[in-house]
């Protein structure tokens, strides 16, 4: 779509290759993905709107306390616009959500946006670390499992991996807590920071304390989640191992381990990003569960407690924010895919 423009610019002498590298996948593709992302968020907002109003009784009734007077209740209902026509409520809801006005949380006694802003980074840290751990260990394991697939123990290794993937994350979390906290006492099993610290409040001890608290939740999710990436890479290794470039690599006299990781493995990584959506879903769900087990004060725990406490403004905003995070990460992964597979040329024109 922008091809002629780039060619002309190159003729003139502008540094087009730099620009083109960044928009390697082309403007058209990017716009399409953004449109889908936006539509997804709109659908989610609508879903939330519908779900909330589908509840038995007025949803405001959940926020009223027995001691309120009728006048107070009427004011509350007016503030929430309960008596306005549905489409007006819908429009206002959409507008508010897109401008970041998420309302007030009755249980937290604070603006929802503030609560979310505090909690989001904590979940992102856990989620990001788990993503990293799974997507480093997983593909490597997949490469090894795929390479030695027909060796003795290849099937057993696969069976063990599948069994690990089949264990519930919260159960694994409990086992890890029992081992590392109750038996060994190495790692703490609740919260994000020590409640009553006995160490000095300078950066290094605080950071270490945080990392120690992060360890078990991270391990719980990662211990199960790595298998997802392994199951994607392992079959891709099967094709890679029979390829002509692996044959040539052998003819070049390269060592088997080099061929395994650098050539077969590298090419087997391509399907990982295309199927990453499913793995992402697992990690999000895993993060929610883990936060609950370890009382990690993040978004996941927030959703669960807000829903159970019937704090609807908070619950729906938290849901929305999680959806936003997922959509954004998927978009980033789409970009990463094009860098991983060098055969994709600009924009889909060629």
């Amino acid at each position: 779509m922008l091809g002629p423009f780039f060619r002309r610019a190159a003729e003139v002498g502008l540094p087009v290759d730099r620009v083109v590298c960044v928009t390697r996948f082309g403007a058209a593709y990017l716009v399409r993905r953004l449109a889908v992302a936006y539509a997804t968020l709109l659908v989610i907002m609508t879903l939330l709107f519908v779900l909330l109003r589908a509840m038995p009784g007025s949803f405001v009734s959940a926020m009223t306390t027995p001691g309120m007077t009728t006048a107070q209740i009427a004011r509350l209902e007016a503030a929430w616009g309960v008596h306005d026509p549905l489409w007006v409520q819908y429009g206002r809801f959409l507008l508010n959500y897109q401008t970041g006005q998420f309302g007030w949380s009755p249980t937290m006694h604070a603006p929802v946006a503030d609560v979310l802003a505090r909690r989001l980074p904590r979940t992102l840290v856990l989620f990001g670390a788990a993503l990293l751990a799974c997507y480093v260990v997983g593909p490597l394991a997949g490469m090894v499992l795929g390479w030695y697939r027909d060796a003795r123990g290849g099937t057993l290794a696969l069976a063990v991996s599948l069994f690990v993937y089949a264990t519930p994350v919260f159960w694994v979390a409990w086992l890890l807590v029992w081992l590392f906290d109750h038996r060994l006492g190495w790692l703490p099993s609740a919260h994000m920071v020590t409640q009553f610290p006995t160490f000095a409040l300078s950066p290094l001890p605080v950071a270490l304390d945080f990392l120690r608290h992060l360890a078990l939740p991270l391990l719980s999710v990662a211990a199960v989640g790595w298998v997802g990436a392994t199951l994607l890479v392992r079959p891709a290794m099967h094709d890679a191992m029979r390829s002509d470039y692996v044959d040539l690599a052998r003819a070049k006299g390269l060592r088997e381990r080099t061929i395994l990781f650098k050539h077969a493995g590298r090419n087997a990584l391509v399907p990982v990003t295309t199927s990453a959506a499913l793995a992402l879903a697992f990690l999000v769900d895993g993060a929610i569960v883990t936060e609950t087990v370890f009382s990690w004060p993040g978004m996941g725990q927030l959703i669960v407690t807000a829903v159970l406490d019937r704090d609807y403004p908070l619950a729906q905003a938290a849901f929305f924010l999680v959806a936003v995070v997922v959509v954004v990460v998927r978009l980033c992964l789409d970009v990463a895919y094009t860098y991983l597979d060098p055969r994709i040329s600009f924009g889909g024109r060629d």
């Binding site: 889908v36 992302a37 539509a39 997804t40 968020l41 659908v43 989610i44 879903l47 939330l48 779900l51 909330l52 589908a54 509840m55 099937t155 696969l158 069976a159 599948l162 069994f163 993937y165 089949a166 264990t167 519930p168 994350v169 919260f170 159960w171 409990w174 086992l175 807590v177 029992w178 109750h182 959506a277 499913l278 879903a281 999000v284 769900d285 929610i288 569960v289 609950t292 959703i303 669960v304 829903v307 159970l308 619950a315 729906q316 938290a318 849901f319 999680v322 959806a323 997922v326 959509v327 998927r330």
Partner: protein, 307 residues
């Protein structure tokens, strides 16, 4: 000529199935998976036969209406006992119910949830995927856009919200799981259908004026069915795990016996870390059943891939 071609197709199809079946029966993963599924199904179909006690059985007093002494109730949850003072090979819970009994009776819920959710998501996803791949054009476009957008809905938060609103019944959970799981079925079946439809003999059949359902039945389905079967099995696995997770979060139906509820009770009564006979078996049961589904799915994939 069409008749002969059809005969050829049918004979190769059945010999392919024969070979696939033979390979399946010699696949170690398939055997282990099927064995575990068999055991769980037995527990589900005839729990009274397999379990050592009735579900109403309580330690010390059995099925009678007696009450426990203080000393007796203090001893609960009781570690495994093999006759003295009662028979509970996996010990008891805090309320005195036998863990093994609860485990056997919980098998039914696990299987039901898994299979129901899997069947539902397949019933929605597979036909849509077939239509999307076979007809292409605007049908494909619409379905794909819908799927693309719905993919962005995070699974567990959605299920949590849905269950919180509509109440924690097993039906709701099954519906909620199926509502997000069908997407994957649709996308994968669409991919398989597309690759089959592109082959020239399908074009020829279309040009010959054969009705769509015959083309699909004869040419498309034989290749799509194994893929759909693998997806079904994976959906069942995911559903069982999701149900267990919801139970842990307190969002499952606590009146029905299930492995997840068993674990949640351990947590609710604060005995997670001092009653390993209560903590370990349900977790292992869940993992074993889910792994069995994974094994069978993997074996089916292996067996049909090499064709």
């Amino acid at each position: 000529m069409t008749g002969r071609a059809a005969d050829c197709d049918a004979s190769t199809a059945s010999s392919r199935t024969h070979r696939a079946l033979r390979r399946f029966l010699t696949n170690p993963l398939a055997l282990v998976g099927t064995a575990v599924l068999g055991v769980v199904t037995c527990c589900a179909l005839a729990p009274g036969v397999v379990a050592p006690h009735d579900p109403e059985w309580v330690a010390y007093v059995g099925t009678s209406d007696g009450r426990l002494t203080l000393a007796q109730s203090r001893s609960l949850p009781h570690p495994p006992a093999f006759g003295d003072p009662f028979f509970a090979p996996l010990g008891t819970t805090a309320s005195g119910h036998g863990v093994l009994t609860e485990l056997v009776y919980g098998a039914r819920t696990a299987l039901l949830v898994g299979l129901a959710a899997a069947l539902l998501s397949s019933l929605v996803g597979v036909p849509l995927g077939l239509c999307s791949g076979y007809y292409g054009g605007w049908v494909d476009g619409v379905i794909q856009r819908v799927v693309d957008v719905l993919y962005g809905v995070p699974f567990l938060p959605f299920v949590i919200v849905l269950v919180a609103i509509r109440g924690a019944s097993t039906t709701t959970i099954v519906l909620a799981i199926a509502a997000t799981a069908w997407l994957n079925n649709c996308v994968v079946v669409r991919g398989t259908t597309l690759s089959i439809v592109r082959r020239t003999y399908v074009d020829a059949a279309r040009a010959a004026g054969l009705p769509a359902h015959r083309i699909v039945a004869r040419h498309v389905l034989p290749d799509v069915l194994p893929v759909a079967a693998v997806l079904l099995v994976q959906d069942a696995a995911t559903a069982i795990l999701a149900h267990a997770t919801l139970a842990y979060l307190g969002l499952a139906d606590v009146t029905t016996a299930s492995w997840g509820v068993l674990l949640q009770q351990a947590q609710a009564t604060g005995h997670v870390f001092d009653a390993p006979w209560w903590l370990l078996p349900p977790g292992l049961a869940i993992a074993s059943l889910v792994a069995a589904f994974y094994y069978v799915g993997h074996a089916v994939e292996d067996v049909t891939d090499t064709d």
